[in-house]
């Protein structure tokens, strides 16, 4: 899963964010720089979370920012971000803190579904998640599945 992410430079590492909204924007930034998404995409994601709560935090430490297809997305891709400090989505619920972010953007259903299958398999493996939490460079990402 990480080969393409690293080749396309769809990853970033950060110390931390005081506001989860800034974390979502930063996680999307590499996709914005190469035109995979438009500026509105992170804002649509943020709006949805403000409306519905942090449903994008799918497991402890793991957040998959995404929004409905069709608006602000030009291509199908995944983009990885890791923070050293946990980003808080709900001050009353530490289970909704996240350090691993994988932004999903989709225009092609088949490629997207394949991405999701890889993502779900990879992030269900606790040993891989532990390595991702330690990762600091693109090379570290390539090594996690090795």
């Amino acid at each position: 899963m990480f080969k393409e992410i690293v080749e396309k430079k769809h990853f970033s590492f950060h110390e931390g964010f005081d506001d989860w909204r800034d974390a979502v924007r930063a996680a999307c930034a590499p996709l914005l720089s190469d035109g995979t998404i438009e500026k509105e995409y992170p804002e649509i994601i943020i709006q949805k979370v403000e409306e519905l709560g942090p449903y994008i935090v799918i497991a402890p430490n793991i957040c998959i920012p995404h929004a409905e297809r069709g608006r602000g997305v030009n291509d199908t891709a995944m983009c990885f971000m890791k923070t050293e400090k946990p980003v808080s989505f709900d001050p009353n619920d530490p289970d909704k803190d996240a350090r691993i972010f994988v932004v999903l953007a989709a225009t092609d259903d088949e490629v997207h579904l394949n991405n999701l299958m890889q993502l779900s398999e990879t992030l269900s493996d606790e040993a891989i998640v532990d390595k991702l939490l330690q990762a600091k460079t693109g090379d570290d990402l390539l090594a996690v599945e090795g």
Binding site: G53, V57, A59, I64, S120, S124
Partner: protein, 105 residues
């Protein structure tokens, strides 16, 4: 419980919705995981994934709704059993909650 008429090869198909905010990320992951878990537990299940708005309007036609814990409140008043998940990647949590809900096989 759906009392199925016994006509030889009768199958009680459990009708399931997997819901998330957008219908294109988390809900598909829930669906993938549920397919595995239901199979393991011996259920025949038909799983539809969608966004919460659509899920809410359709929930009364389904037996069970699965969604992230943070979305459970959205389904207040629906007839379907609503199961909120803390960890969408945990097959163990799904198994435990399906067993606790005592869904008809």
């Amino acid at each position: 419980m759906a009392a199925s008429e016994d006509k030889g090869e009768c199958i009680n198909m459990l009708k399931v919705i997997a819901a998330c905010g957008s219908g294109m990320g988390s809900s598909q992951i829930i669906k993938m995981k549920l397919e595995k878990v239901f199979k393991k537990l011996g259920y025949q299940a038909e799983i539809y994934h969608t966004n919460v708005g659509d899920a809410k309007s359709q929930a009364n036609n389904y037996d069970v709704v699965f969604c992230s814990e943070s979305l459970v409140g959205t389904f207040n008043g629906t007839r379907a059993t609503v199961i909120g998940l803390k960890n969408l990647l945990s097959e163990a949590e799904m198994t435990e909650k399906i067993e606790a809900a005592n869904l008809p096989k």
